[in-house]
C-alpha cells in the first residue's frame, strides 16, 4: 500500500499526528528552555488531537460505525485542557524566572531525591 497514491484517509492524518507527537516529545526531552518544553507539550497534545479528529471524522471513514461527535468533543476538551495547562505552566515559569532569573529547567532540581 503506497500512501502517496492512496486518497487522503485516516492513515495520513495518523502519520502527521505521529510526527507531531514525536517532534513534541523530542522537543520536551531536549530543550533546556522551559518555554521550549511548553511548546513541546503543545505539540504532543495537538498530535493526539489530530488522531482524535481523524478517527472521529465522518468523511474520512465513511460507513464506519459512527462514534458520533466523540472525537471532535474530546479534541475540544484537550484544547481547553491545553489552554488551562499553558496558563498554569506559564505562571510557574514566570515565578521560576523571578526566583532564579532564568528559565533553565535543569536548574529546577530542588526536589530531587
Amino acid at each position: 500500500m503506497n500512501l502517496l497514491t492512496e486518497p487522503i484517509g485516516v492513515s495520513h492524518y495518523l502519520i502527521v499526528g505521529a510526527i507531531m507527537f514525536v517532534t513534541g516529545a523530542l522537543c520536551m526531552a531536549t530543550k533546556r528552555n522551559a518555554l521550549g518544553v511548553l511548546m513541546g507539550i503543545e505539540l504532543v497534545l495537538n498530535g493526539a488531537n489530530v488522531n482524535f479528529v481523524a478517527f472521529g471524522s465522518e468523511y474520512l471513514r465513511p460507513g464506519a460505525v459512527s462514534m458520533g461527535l466523540d472525537g471532535q468533543l474530546i479534541a475540544l476538551f484537550v484544547i481547553v485542557l491545553a489552554a488551562a495547562e499553558a496558563a498554569v505552566a506559564l505562571a510557574i515559569v514566570l515565578n521560576f524566572y523571578n526566583n532564579h532569573s532564568s528559565v533553565d529547567v535543569d536548574k529546577a532540581d530542588e526536589l530531587k531525591g
Binding site: R32, V37, R61, V105, A108, K112, G113
Partner: protein, 835 residues
C-alpha cells in the same frame, strides 16, 4: 396550740439546730474568730436555741394540752396480787379520739381522758407518732425518719438541752487552754520534751454539737431502727470525746475500750432487733399510717399490748406464727383460733412456749445494748476509763445523758418486756449498783469516784425498772442527770484549780473556791437523797425513795428475791458514804498539798454560774410547779406506757410477780422505804464524818485492818484483770498467731506468685522485643532500602523525566501490541466496522 401539729416541728427544729452547728463548725471551725472561739459561741447558741424550743414545747405546748392522770388511790393490800388486774376496765368508746389528719396525713394522736375505775385511774397516755421522711422501702422493710412523742420524750428534750446548755457555757471556760497552742504535760515525746500541738477548741464543740444532735435524735426516734442509728452515733461521739487527748496513750486506749465494749452490747441489740423485725414486721414504736390508707398500722407496742386485750401483754400473733413456722409449713392454717390455741400451748416444747422464749430473747437482746451503753455489769468497765475525756464531756456524755440512754431505752421498751426479762434487768441492775458502789469507796481519782457513782446510780435505775417501777426508774434518770452533771462540773472546777485528779493532794478547798465547794455539797446531798421525811427534800430524795419503795413492794411479792431490796438499801448507805468521802477529801479539812492549795483559785464566772443553776435544779427538780400538781412525777405518770400498771406474773417462772407500781404508794411500803432511805443515807453520812470529817478513825488503819477487802476493792474487783485474762490475752495471742500466719504463709504465697508473674512478664518482654518487634523492624528496614534505591531515579532533571515517560510509553505500546493484542483485537475490529 395544737400539739399534734406543732410538737413535731418544734422538737424537730430543736433536734436539727445542733446538727447545723456541727456542720458549720466542721466546715469553718478554725476560721471562726480568734483560734476558733466562735465555734464555742455557735455551738452554745445552737444548744441554747434547742433548750428554748424544748422548754417551750414542754411548758407551753405539752402541759396545757394534755390532762394529768387523776391522783391514784392504792388498792388494799389483800387484793395486791391479782386484784389489780381485774380492776383495769377499759372504755373502748372513750379511749381513742382521732385528731383530724393534718397535712402529713400520717400523724395520729390519742387524747387523754381521765376516768376512775376501781382504784386505778383509767387514763389514756397521750402520744404523737408519725413520720417525717421515708428513707427507703425494701419489701416489707421500711426505713423512716419518724417521731414518737409523749411526755417522756418532751421531758428528755428539756432535760438534755438544759443540761447541755449549762455544760456548753461551762466548757467555754474549761476548755480555754485549747484556744492557743497546747502543751500536753502528760505526753512525753522521745526526746524528753512535752508534746506541743495546736489548740483544738473548735473540734471539742464540734463533737459536742454532734453529740447533742445524736442524743436528741435517739430520744425523738419513732422506730427502733432509728434508735439504733442514733445509738451508734452517740457511741461514736463518746469515742471521739474520750479520745480528745488522743496523744495520751491512756486516752486512746480508753476510747477504744469504750467503743469495743459497747460493740459487745450492740451485738445483742442487733439480735433483739432482728427478732422484732422478723416476728412483728415493723420497727415503729407507735401506730403510724405508713401506706396512707387511713388506718394506722400497729407498731411494736400495740402489737404486744393491743387495745383489744385491755393493753395486757400478750405474745403477738407474729411471734406465734414465727414459733409455729414448722407447723405452718406442714399446711396448718394460721387462723385466729389456731393462733390462740398455739398461744396457750405452754407445755415444754409447745409453740406458745417457744414464742414466749422469742419474746425473752428479743427483750434480753435489746437490754444487752442497754447494758453496754449504760455501763451495767458485766460491761461496766469502760465508763471509769472514759474519764480520760475532758470533764465537761464526763458531765454531759458519761453521766447525765448518753449513759442514761440505756435506761431510757429500757423505759421506752418497757411494754415489750415480759416479767422474766424484767427479772434479768433487775438482777443486773442490782449487781451493778453494789459492785460499783463498793469500788467507789476506795477510788482516789475524783472523777473515777464519780464514774463509779454513775455506774451505781444507773444500776439503781435498772433495778427500779426491773422490779416494775417504771416511773421510779425514769424519775431517777431525770434527777440523777441534774445532780450528777453538777457533781462532775464541780470536780472539773476543782481539777481546773489544782491540776490533778488525785484527791489525796486536795483538801480544804472550800476556803479557796466557795462556789464550787458549796454547790458540790448540794450535789452530794441530792445524790444521798437528803430531805425531811414526808415533808420536803432534794430531788434525789424523791426518786431514791420511789425506787426503794418499789423494791420493797417487789420483795413482799417475791420473798425469794428480797435481796434485791436489801442490796439497794445497803447501796444507798454506801452512796452517801463515798460521796461525802469525796466532799470531805476535796473541800473540807486541812490542805494536804500546800503547793497546789496555794495555786488554787475559784473558777471564772462562766464556769461557776452553770454550777449554781444546776445546784438549784438539783434541789427543786423533784418538786411540782408551784400552785399546780404538775411535776416530773406527774408527767411520768402521764407518759407511763399503756397497760403496765398491773400486777404481772411470769409465764415460765410462774412464781415471779411484778407488783403494780401504784402498790408501792401503800402506807406499809412508802413509809418504811422512806425511813430506810433516810436512815441508810444518814448512816453513810455518819460513817463518812467519822472517817474523813472529824477523823475519829484513821482510814489508812482501817484499810490495813481489812487488807484483803481493801486490795480487792482498790483493784476494782479484778474485773479488768479478769477480762484481760479471759478476753484480751487470748485475743492478742490469736491475733499474733494470725499475724504470723498472714506474714509467713499468705504473704509468702503472694510473694511467690508475684515473683512468678514477674518472670513470665520478663519472658513475654523478650518475645515481644526480639520476635514481634524484630519482624516489624525488618519490614521497615526493607521498605527503607527500597525507598533509598528508588530515590536515585529522582534526579531533578526534567528532560530525563520526559525520557522516562516516552520510554515507558513505548514499552507499554510494545507490550500491548505484542502481548495483549489478542484480547484487544476483536474490539479493534468492531471499531473498524469490518468482520
Amino acid at each position: 396550740m395544737d400539739p399534734v401539729s406543732t410538737l413535731p416541728v418544734l422538737l424537730g427544729l430543736a433536734w436539727l439546730v445542733p446538727l447545723a452547728s456541727f456542720t458549720l463548725i466542721v466546715l469553718f471551725g478554725p476560721r471562726m474568730g480568734k483560734a476558733g472561739i466562735g465555734a464555742g459561741y455557735l455551738a452554745t447558741g445552737a444548744i441554747l436555741t434547742s433548750a428554748i424550743l424544748s422548754s417551750f414545747s414542754l411548758f407551753f405546748v405539752w402541759i396545757p394540752a394534755y390532762d394529768m392522770p387523776e391522783p391514784s388511790h392504792p388498792v388494799a393490800a389483800d387484793s395486791a396480787h391479782g386484784g389489780a388486774h381485774e380492776a383495769e376496765v377499759h372504755d373502748e368508746a372513750a379511749h381513742k379520739e382521732e385528731h383530724g389528719d393534718d397535712d402529713h396525713g400520717e400523724q395520729h394522736a390519742e387524747s387523754s381522758h381521765g376516768e376512775h375505775d376501781g382504784g386505778h385511774a383509767h387514763f389514756d397516755k397521750p402520744e404523737i407518732a408519725g413520720e417525717w421522711y421515708t428513707l427507703g422501702k425494701f419489701g416489707s422493710l421500711r426505713i423512716t425518719i419518724g417521731y414518737y412523742i409523749d411526755s417522756l420524750t418532751v421531758m428528755m428534750f428539756a432535760m438534755v438541752t438544759f443540761i447541755a446548755t449549762c455544760i456548753h457555757f461551762y466548757a467555754i471556760g474549761y476548755m480555754h487552754d485549747e484556744l492557743h497552742d497546747y502543751v500536753d504535760h502528760e505526753v512525753t515525746l522521745e526526746d524528753g520534751q512535752h508534746l506541743h500541738r495546736p489548740g483544738r477548741f473548735h473540734r471539742f464543740f464540734q463533737y459536742l454539737s454532734l453529740f447533742c444532735f445524736s442524743m436528741l435524735g435517739l430520744v425523738i426516734a419513732g422506730n427502733i431502727a432509728m434508735v439504733f442509728v442514733f445509738w451508734e452515733l452517740v457511741g461514736i461521739c463518746s469515742y471521739f470525746l474520750i479520745g480528745f487527748y488522743i496523744e495520751r496513750k491512756s486516752a486512746s486506749n480508753a476510747a477504744n475500750k469504750a467503743f469495743i465494749v459497747n460493740r459487745v452490747g450492740d451485738f445483742g441489740m442487733i439480735i433483739g432487733l432482728m427478732v422484732i423485725f422478723a416476728t412483728l414486721g415493723t420497727f415503729a414504736f407507735g401506730d403510724v399510717d405508713a401506706d396512707g390508707d387511713g388506718t394506722p398500722e400497729p407498731g411494736i407496742f400495740s402489737q404486744v399490748r393491743s387495745p383489744e386485750n385491755d393493753y395486757a401483754l400478750v405474745v403477738p400473733d407474729g411471734v406465734i406464727k414465727a414459733a409455729a413456722a414448722s407447723e405452718i409449713a406442714k399446711g396448718v392454717e394460721a387462723t385466729p383460733e389456731q393462733i390462740q390455741s398455739w398461744r396457750e400451748d405452754m407445755e415444754p416444747g409447745g409453740v406458745g412456749r417457744w414464742a414466749y422464749w422469742l419474746m425473752i430473747i428479743a427483750g434480753v437482746g435489746i437490754f444487752c445494748g442497754c447494758v453496754g451503753k449504760s455501763a451495767q455489769f458485766p460491761l461496766h468497765v469502760w465508763l471509769p476509763d472514759a474519764m480520760e475525756g475532758p470533764t465537761p464531756v464526763s458531765a454531759l456524755v458519761h453521766s447525765a445523758t448518753m449513759v442514761a440512754a440505756g435506761v431510757y431505752l429500757v423505759g421506752r421498751f418497757f411494754p415489750f418486756f415480759v416479767p422474766e426479762v424484767l427479772l434479768v434487768i433487775a438482777i443486773i441492775g442490782c449487781i451493778t449498783l453494789f459492785v460499783a458502789a463498793t469500788i467507789a469507796i476506795t477510788a482516789v481519782d475524783i472523777k473515777r469516784v464519780l464514774a463509779y457513782s454513775t455506774v451505781s446510780q444507773l444500776g439503781y435505775m435498772m433495778l427500779a425498772l426491773g422490779v416494775g417501777g417504771w416511773s421510779a426508774g425514769v424519775f431517777h434518770l431525770m434527777t440523777h442527770a441534774f445532780f450528777k452533771s453538777l457533781l462532775f462540773m464541780c470536780s472539773g472546777s476543782v481539777i481546773h484549780a489544782v491540776h490533778t485528779n488525785d484527791m489525796t493532794h486536795m483538801g480544804g478547798l472550800r476556803k479557796k473556791m466557795p462556789w464550787t465547794a458549796y454547790t458540790m455539797l448540794v450535789g452530794c446531798l441530792a445524790i444521798m437523797g437528803a430531805g425531811v421525811p414526808f415533808t420536803i427534800g432534794l430531788s434525789g430524795h424523791y426518786s431514791k425513795d420511789a425506787i426503794l419503795a418499789q423494791a420493797m413492794s417487789f420483795e413482799a411479792a417475791n420473798p425469794m428475791l428480797g435481796w434485791l431490796f436489801y442490796v439497794a438499801a445497803a447501796g444507798a448507805a454506801i452512796t452517801a458514804f463515798y460521796m461525802f468521802r469525796l466532799w470531805f477529801l476535796t473541800c473540807a479539812g486541812e490542805p494536804r498539798d500546800k503547793h497546789r492549795y496555794d495555786h488554787a483559785h475559784e473558777s471564772p464566772k462562766v464556769m461557776y454560774v452553770p454550777l449554781v443553776i444546776l445546784a438549784v435544779m438539783a434541789v427543786i427538780v423533784g418538786w411540782s410547779i408551784y400552785g399546780t400538781p404538775v411535776g416530773i412525777q406527774k408527767l411520768l405518770e402521764q407518759a407511763r406506757p399503756m397497760g403496765i400498771l398491773t400486777t404481772a406474773h411470769g409465764a415460765l417462772l410462774t412464781d415471779l410477780v411484778h407488783p403494780d407500781e401504784h402498790l408501792s404508794h401503800l402506807e406499809e411500803f412508802h413509809v418504811a422505804s422512806t425511813w430506810y432511805a433516810t436512815l441508810t443515807g444518814l448512816a453513810g453520812l455518819g460513817l463518812a464524818i467519822v472517817f474523813y470529817g472529824v477523823r475519829v478513825l484513821n482510814p489508812a488503819e482501817v484499810a490495813n485492818q481489812f487488807k484483803r477487802v481493801y486490795k480487792f476493792l482498790v483493784n476494782k474487783w479484778y474485773f479488768d484483770e479478769l477480762y484481760n485474762v479471759i478476753f484480751v490475752k487470748p485475743v492478742l495471742l490469736v491475733s499474733s498467731r494470725v499475724a504470723d500466719f498472714d506474714k509467713k504463709v499468705i504473704d509468702g504465697l503472694i510473694d511467690t506468685l508475684a515473683i512468678g508473674t514477674r518472670m513470665i512478664a520478663r519472658l513475654d518482654d523478650m518475645i515481644d522485643r526480639y520476635f514481634v518487634d524484630g519482624l516489624i523492624n525488618a519490614f521497615a528496614g526493607w521498605t527503607y532500602a527500597v525507598a533509598l534505591w528508588f530515590r536515585g531515579a529522582e534526579t531533578g532533571r526534567l528532560r530525563q523525566y520526559v525520557m522516562f515517560i516516552v520510554l515507558g510509553t513505548v514499552v507499554l505500546f510494545i507490550l500491548i501490541t505484542f502481548y495483549l493484542s489478542a484480547p484487544l483485537a476483536p474490539s479493534l475490529s468492531t471499531l473498524e466496522g469490518r468482520p
